[in-house]
Subunit: 196 residues, 2 copies
């Protein structure tokens, strides 16, 4: 089955291809003249649906989209849906991470818990819609460690681990990650769809 | 009555002297070798109390302290207690304001509500403690306007007004502001204290 992932993020597309191995996944760069979705939602679910609807409409393919981010308890769940543009510059991972470390500078270790959250949406050409959620809880440390992953991975130590999610192998990260959880659930849901 | 305001912010001291005209208010710069309070609290109330306790202990005077900030609804109440260090650099008003505007760039007008919140604490040498809260609701606009006030005033339009709180006269701002409300309540409370 051919599926569009409504993303231009090469690392995200690679991650999803690893998780959903049975599907033929294409990215937005394969869809000509795709209009940029404005992620104006205030929840992960809203943004994932906005992107998946645009993708299904523009491509005629079943479309999957996710909106993910880091929800820090001491920041009332922020950066949240603003994770990728926390510094005001969309997609500047290093600036976003450094800003978060600066903001949390005075926050003691016992208040540095948070979770990576992923909402994954599926929109079919028929208009049928699904959204599922995944979360990986952990702690925000004070100095980046590791070169894997992306975003806030280098400053996030998942609960039960001593390493950051940027120090995990891709397979180890997929097994516990917010995105792994959400996309595996979506893959099951896709497998159960009536064949058309 | 002589009162210590646990702050080095000259604009804040001026504002408080305007509001509490009956009191002889000194700032932290008048207290020799005052140790810097780490604002490690996660609520305005906690931080105000931390500062007022340190001030009363170091000076032997009744001490007033406030913790104030801008709570933006779309950011789940953030910057909140992190308002003065939102950019990671404490007290850099311009960087904090520009960062907030960048973060809210894609947030539509109807979701740009928020409030300035002030917790004002009073700690007496006897150990007696009081905290009161004030809030001024309004909207976060897209471009700074006005040169009065400080912090986020240039991008905040109070409900019922067409101008930002940086475009109000000091007296007009005091009449409606979060800090005005909280400190007037504290002034009443101080006036009612048994004279010792």
């Amino acid at each position: 089955m051919r599926l569009l992932l409504a993303s231009r993020n090469a690392k995200k597309i690679t991650e999803l291809r690893r998780i959903m191995t049975d599907l033929d996944i294409v990215g937005l760069d394969d869809v000509p003249a795709f209009p940029e979705t404005v992620e104006s939602g205030l929840t992960f679910e809203e943004n994932a649906l906005l992107k998946a609807r645009d993708g299904a409409r523009a491509s005629g393919l079943p479309c999957v989209a996710d909106d993910s981010g880091l929800a820090v308890d001491a920041l009332n769940g922020m950066p949240g849906v603003f994770s990728a543009r926390w510094s005001g510059r969309h997609g500047d991972d290093l600036a976003n991470l450094q800003l978060l470390l600066g903001q949390l500078g005075d926050v003691p270790d016992e208040y540095r818990a948070g979770g990576f959250v992923c909402a994954a949406a599926l929109v079919l050409p028929s208009g049928e819609e699904h959204v599922v959620l995944g979360e990986m809880r952990g702690t925000i440390i004070r100095e980046p460690r590791g070169t894997g992953g992306f975003g806030y991975d280098p400053i996030f130590v998942p609960d039960g681990y001593d390493v950051t999610s940027a120090e995990l192998t891709p397979a180890a990260k997929d097994a516990i990650s917010h995105r792994g959880q959400a996309f595996r659930e979506l893959a099951t849901l896709i497998a159960d769809l009536p064949q058309t």
